[in-house]
Structures are given as structure tokens and as C-alpha cells.
């Protein structure tokens, strides 16, 4: 299998930080706030690998740092320390040492992101077709007809009525907005897709459809994904491997089935036991 992403010792601290931050926080101490300097340790010493076409689940309660990982990898935030290498065919990108323009290039040409809240991923002032067009234009496609066609294709793929492609996303239901967001993220066939709580807040039938869609996309396009969720069902359905996080640390990682059937860490055991 070909590696696509390698993250080593990623840490993110909100606040000024002190030498004791990492010692005095963590799941053992039941806090992620440093008692000395009051900084929040959102993530510490995270390492993970991702292979082509693989789906990796990141699971944990709110505030455990799941989203922080993805935001750092998508350049929405800058990490405090750590390395991440993205492999694109024979090229390698050291993610955290790139300049702004290179980061933007990676975001536009190689990464896709779907946020929990469609307001973050979509521009509500322009039509859904326009939102997808934005992504294509960033990718240097300058032909109006081609852009229209590609946008229509993607909306069809994500089961949004193409008759409504020129409507503003604010007229859409939450599930449809989410599908437009997925279509936008997929516009450039990114080899790497980040999904941050994509089904949270949607009703069950819509959730099922979106999860189906994600699986289909993975199988069709061999897209590698990191799926952040607190929903065991989502992880069970999508992810081959899973990481469980608490207070910014990885407390357990392995094959999803293994983690769900035979959890080792006390927190994971509780998490699995409490699932409906």
C-alpha cells in the first residue's frame, strides 16, 4: 500500500504555553488545561499514517482534539509543533514548513474538506453551482461550459437536483447543503479528503444516504479520508482503522472492528458500552 499522509508528534496548544503544559495535562490527569499557565492543550504528540484509498476514523468526545487534528492538516490552524508529510505520486510536501502560497495550492489542488456546518464550507451568497465553480476556478479551469458541466455532474453524483444548481444554498435543507458541500469538496477529485462531523445534526435517513455516498466515492475514486466523528455508527460503517482521542492524546488506535469489539482503554470501553 502506498502512503499518502504521515503525521508525527503533532501538538497544538492554545494559549502562551509553559514547559509543564504537556506533563500536567492528559487523560490520566483528566484535563487538557494546564494548571500553571491555563493554556489549552488541544493535541499532543499525535502520530498517524494514512494510505491511499483508506478511511481513517478519529473518535472522541467533544473537546478531545479530533477537529484540531484535521484543521491543522487542512491549514485552518497552525500547529505548535510536529511534522506532517503529504505524498503525491513521487512528490513529498512537508506540510508545516510550506509558505502560504504553497499551502493554498495544496488546499486547492489536492485536499478537500467537509465541515459539520455548511456555513464554513459553502459561500451562502452565491449559488450552489457557483460554489463548485469557485473550486474549479481555483484549479485554473477557465471554460464556462466545462465548469457548468462539471458542476452539474457533481451535483448529480451527490443527488442534488440539478434544476436547483443556480439557487442559493440557503434555500436548501441541511442535508442538501451538506451534499452540496461534499460536491464542492470533490470538485477537483482530491486524493485526500477531510470530513469533520459531516452527518452530525442530520436525520437518520439523510445520514445513511450521505454515508453511502462517502463510501461510494471512496470506492470509485480511491480517495483517502480522515473522518472525524463522535458517532460510533459512522466509524463502524466507514473507517477501516480508528483512533480514539481524549484530552488531546491518542489513547487507542487500531482496526475499527477490534476497537469496537474489544476495547482496551477504560475510556473506549465506556464509550462503546454507552452506545445505544
Amino acid at each position: 500500500m502506498e502512503k499518502i499522509l504521515e503525521v508525527r508528534n503533532l501538538s497544538k496548544v492554545f494559549g502562551k504555553g509553559c514547559p509543564n503544559c504537556f506533563e500536567k495535562t492528559g487523560p490520566e490527569l483528566n484535563t487538557n488545561i494546564c494548571p500553571d499557565c491555563k493554556s489549552v492543550v488541544a493535541a499532543h504528540d499525535l502520530s498517524l499514517d494514512l494510505y491511499k484509498g483508506e478511511i481513517l476514523g478519529i473518535m472522541g468526545e467533544s473537546g478531545s482534539g479530533k477537529s484540531t487534528v484535521v484543521k491543522n492538516l487542512f491549514f485552518d490552524q497552525d500547529p505548535t509543533s510536529g511534522h506532517a508529510i503529504f505524498y503525491d505520486d513521487d512528490k513529498q510536501y512537508d506540510l508545516f514548513s510550506l509558505n502560504a502560497a504553497q499551502k493554498r495550492h495544496l488546499r486547492n489542488h489536492h485536499f478537500g474538506m467537509v465541515y459539520q456546518n455548511p456555513h464554513l464550507g459553502l459561500n451562502f451568497g452565491i449559488s450552489s453551482g457557483g460554489n463548485i465553480a469557485e473550486r474549479l476556478l481555483m484549479n485554473d479551469l477557465r471554460n464556462y461550459k466545462e465548469i457548468r458541466e462539471r458542476a452539474r455532474e457533481l451535483l448529480e453524483r451527490t443527488e442534488v437536483l440539478t434544476e436547483r444548481m443556480d439557487e442559493l444554498p440557503k434555500n436548501f435543507s441541511g442535508g442538501m447543503q451538506q451534499r452540496v458541500q461534499i460536491a464542492k469538496a470533490l470538485a477537483i477529485n482530491p486524493p485526500m479528503l477531510y470530513l469533520d462531523e459531516v452527518t452530525t445534526g442530520l436525520d437518520l435517513s439523510v445520514q445513511a444516504k450521505i454515508l453511502d455516498l462517502i463510501l461510494e466515492i471512496q470506492q470509485e475514486m480511491n480517495t483517502a479520508m480522515i473522518v472525524v466523528t463522535h458517532d460510533l455508527g459512522v466509524v463502524r460503517l466507514l473507517a477501516g482503522r480508528t483512533i480514539v482521542m481524549k484530552y488531546g492524546r491518542i489513547i487507542e488506535s487500531g482496526l475499527t472492528d477490534q476497537i469496537l469489539e474489544d476495547p482496551q482503554h477504560a475510556y473506549t470501553q465506556r464509550l462503546v458500552a454507552s452506545a445505544l
Binding site: A100, A101, R104, N123, I126, S127, G130, R142, N143, Y144
Partner: protein, 291 residues
């Protein structure tokens, strides 16, 4: 006039003090060196409201010398209010300069909303008054973010605006201030010139200087520089059409020319009348026809 000149004797040539003029000139040099980049400058208080062309005026006052011949235009005309007032102010404060209405005779042209129809020459400079220098302001309210977008030549959101226009109206509806890419990188707002004038920026023989007084920015299109209006491959940029209902090109009511940018008026009987927007061009065509 002499009495007025005496009254103003306390002011230096060009109204602005030497340091102010020097700063503007330095800004101009930088603007020329980085085509299309909006260079910030201090923009002094002028004895007229910001928004009345103070950006263009400061440029003109800073680069004009006693040997220069100046033409001031507002909407193509030398006789409209803004042009008349700016011209008399410059005459008042710059002793010894010549002013003219004739495009050919001027070596410095300050203009609002138009570039003359007559192709400009290498020895001419045109100064344009700009209300809103940043084309990205329609898609991004934060100047900090706009600066980053300019730096990275990230204009996709501007193109999305064009896309939305085509979706809604089947064509790009921007009538003036058409975003134009200079020298393959920076996109500028070429002041409120109509689309008609945008191609004149491309490989222009004359130096084009643009000054925004209120927004405190100066930028330039140096001579022989590429200026490409943003567009799609299959929806190319096009200028205004002056064809009537039958597809016939309208011509000027006064001089009969059918190649210039036309203004529309209501005639005596309420009918539509079309005349050249560029008054000097119209005069020249009339003379040529008469002879």
C-alpha cells in the same frame, strides 16, 4: 487671475510641498516597477473633498512641470464641472504650465471615467482618478485578506462573480471598473472607465497612472504592458455595443463618426440622441468631415 495668483504666492508650485510631491513620485516609481500593485501613500488633504479626484490631482501636481501641457477631462468632456474646476485649480497653483483641450497637444492628461479615443503616444502620461482601487472589495471586505489574495494572485472569487453574472443574465454585466489583470499577476480596478476603454490599457504606449485619494493608493499600467480583462475562455470579454435594433452601428449626431464611445441623450422631442462622449474627438471628426 493675476490677483488670484498673487494671493496664492505663499503656496509652492503645484500647491503641495516638495516633500509631499517627492513621496508621490517615489510611490509612482514603485507602482511602475510592480505593474498593477496598489502602492499605499499618505494622500494629503486637498482643498476639495475626497472623492472629487484628489488622488488624480495629487498625481498631476506631483509630476507636472513648467514645460508641460495639461488636458483635464471629465466623462470625456473638457467642459464639465469636475474638469473645469480641477483645471483652474492646477492653473492657479502651477505657474507657467499650458493647458489645452486637444488630446494631441497635451503631454499630461488627467481624466475621470474615460480614456481619449485618440490613441495616446509614448510621450504622453494619462492620470486616472479612482474611487475604489481594489477590485476584490466586492468579494472580500477585509483589506488584510485582500492583500494576501493579491499577493497570491488568488482571483477565483472574482471569477465566480463573473460566473454568477453569466448564470443570471447570460453575459457579464459589469459596465465599468472591469477587473483587469496587469502583466499576468495583479488584477486592478481600472477606475470607472467603461469596458470600451479597457482594451486601450493593453500594450498602451502611454504611461497610465491611477490615483485613489480617499483610499490612499497609487498604481500604474506601464507602457507596453499586458492588460487582460478577466473572462472565460468560451465567454470572451467584449466591449459595449452601439448597434440599434436593426444591428446598425449608431453614429454621433454631431460629427457622424461611428467608431467612438457614444453618450445617450434625450432630444428635444423626447427621442434618443447619440453623441461622441469624447468632445475633442468629436470636434476633430467634425473638422475632418467639413474639410
Amino acid at each position: 487671475m493675476t490677483a488670484m495668483r498673487k494671493a496664492n504666492a505663499a503656496y509652492p508650485f503645484g500647491f503641495l510641498d516638495e516633500y509631499a510631491k517627492k513621496e508621490v513620485r517615489r510611490t509612482v516609481l514603485k507602482a511602475i516597477a510592480i505593474p498593477g500593485y496598489q502602492v499605499p501613500y499618505s494622500s494629503r488633504e486637498m482643498p476639495m473633498g475626497r472623492g472629487f479626484g484628489t488622488g488624480g490631482l495629487q498625481l498631476t501636481l506631483s509630476i507636472i512641470g513648467e514645460d508641460d501641457t495639461l488636458k483635464v477631462i471629465d466623462q470625456g468632456s473638457d467642459d464639465s464641472v469636475n474638469a473645469v474646476n480641477l483645471r483652474s485649480f492646477i492653473e492657479m497653483t502651477c505657474d507657467g504650465i499650458d493647458t489645452t483641450d486637444i488630446t494631441d497637444k497635451a503631454n499630461l492628461i488627467q481624466s475621470r471615467h474615460r480614456i481619449p479615443e485618440k490613441p495616446l503616444r509614448e510621450d504622453q502620461i494619462i492620470v486616472l482618478q479612482v474611487p475604489y482601487p481594489d477590485p476584490l472589495v466586492v468579494v472580500e471586505p477585509s483589506e488584510d485578506k485582500r492583500k494576501i489574495m493579491h499577493g497570491e494572485a488568488d482571483y477565483s472569487r472574482l471569477l465566480v462573480k463573473l460566473y454568477e453574472d453569466i448564470v443570471k443574465f447570460d453575459e457579464i454585466t459589469i459596465s465599468h471598473r472591469y477587473p483587469t489583470c496587469i502583466n499576468g499577476h495583479y488584477v486592478i480596478d481600472p477606475s470607472p472607465i467603461p469596458r470600451w476603454d479597457v482594451p486601450k490599457l493593453h500594450q498602451s504606449k502611454a504611461l497610465v497612472l491611477l490615483g485613489a485619494g480617499r483610499e490612499k493608493k497609487i498604481y500604474a499600467v506601464p507602457p507596453y504592458t499586458d492588460a487582460e480583462p478577466l473572462a472565460f475562455d468560451d465567454m470572451p470579454f467584449r466591449v459595449e455595443s452601439f448597434n440599434d435594433e436593426n444591428g446598425q452601428r449608431r453614429c454621433c449626431d454631431r460629427c457622424g463618426d461611428d467608431t467612438s464611445f457614444l453618450d445617450e441623450f434625450d432630444g428635444q422631442g423626447g427621442e434618443k440622441v447619440y453623441q461622441c462622449s469624447d468632445s475633442d474627438w468629436c470636434r476633430e471628426q467634425s473638422i475632418a468631415k467639413g474639410a
